[in-house]
């Protein structure tokens, strides 16, 4: 009698979860913009046997944006997924993998992301700020003001904008623009940059020379600016061993 076909592979099977984790790490490692994404749900899995110990795996994954910028050294496992009320962003990915003798490799990925609808957020949280366009005039002004403010008050390296990651606007009860952006340290101080900005060069691409800023600007009823930047080299919770220090 012919052998019975193998039972269908389930989305919650350990092998599928392992393939999904491998795929999410690959996607984050090969992304250079925005934030790290975390697995939310495995939507579909299909396995095509190719021969002994060789199979092709197709995965459909539902991902969610985390608060970790893609340049952050924080491991994905320690990154917090954005809450629904922060105007969550979802990623949908189709991935093709190969598994040979238990070893996974990626053959192709195709992802696109989209934010949750504003109506959904407002239904649950009417006062929550909503995502704004990254090239919105108020957003650009807020990022410039925040970076200038931070650079003028900080004696360390002059920071330059790498990219704006997120922006949200709220109109009631106060008018607030909240922004998040990635920065890179230069070889200048703020004073040197004021004298000759062109001469300020980005430091060599070391992870500790990148950083991340959050800022909020209230324009009504009164003006108020709060900006905070953190270089990843000095990120709390991550220990960077010094010379001679036990690195266990």
């Amino acid at each position: 009698a012919p052998a019975a076909p193998p039972p269908p592979v389930g989305c919650d099977d350990p092998e599928t979860e392992a393939a999904a984790e491998f795929a999410v790490n690959y996607i984050n490692d090969h992304s250079h913009h925005g934030y790290k994404f975390a697995l939310n749900r495995i939507e579909q899995v299909r396995v095509l046997p190719q021969g002994p110990n060789n199979e092709i795996i197709f995965l459909e994954l539902d991902l969610l944006e985390t608060t970790c910028h893609i340049l952050s050294p924080t491991p994905l496992a320690n990154c917090t997924v954005r809450s629904f009320t922060e105007h969550a962003v979802e990623g949908d990915c189709d991935i093709k993998l190969q598994k040979v003798n238990g070893q996974l490799s990626i053959l192709g990925t195709k992802c696109h992301s989209h934010a949750d609808s504003s109506e959904d957020i407002q239904r649950v949280c009417p006062d929550c700020p909503l995502l704004a366009s990254l090239n919105d005039t108020e957003v650009l002004a807020a990022v410039t003001a925040a970076l200038n403010d931070y650079n003028s008050k900080t004696p360390g390296a002059y920071l330059r904008l790498l990219e704006i990651g997120r922006a949200r606007k709220q109109f009631h009860p106060v008018h607030v623009v909240a922004v998040e952006f990635a920065v890179a340290a230069t070889n200048c101080t703020a004073e040197e940059a004021k004298a000759n900005l062109e001469a300020c060069q980005l430091l060599p691409e070391d992870q500790s020379n990148f950083g991340f800023c959050t800022a909020s600007i209230v324009t009504s009823p009164s003006q108020e600016l709060q900006a905070d930047c953190q270089l990843y080299g000095h990120q709390p919770g991550i220990t960077y061993p010094h010379q001679g220090q036990d690195t266990t």
Partner: protein, 38 residues
């Protein structure tokens, strides 16, 4: 003319009764939601 056949009734009679306490297996996909569904 079209003759009506009692297919549904026959199928009902052929149905094997499930043992007491039987829990159907979960659908293989989609998987569990780790955080929340948008």
């Amino acid at each position: 003319s079209v003759a009506k056949r009692a297919v549904a009734e026959v199928a009902q009679h052929d149905k094997v009764p499930r043992p007491v306490g039987f829990v159907p297996p979960p659908p293989p996909c989609p998987g569990k939601i780790h955080h929340f569904k948008i």
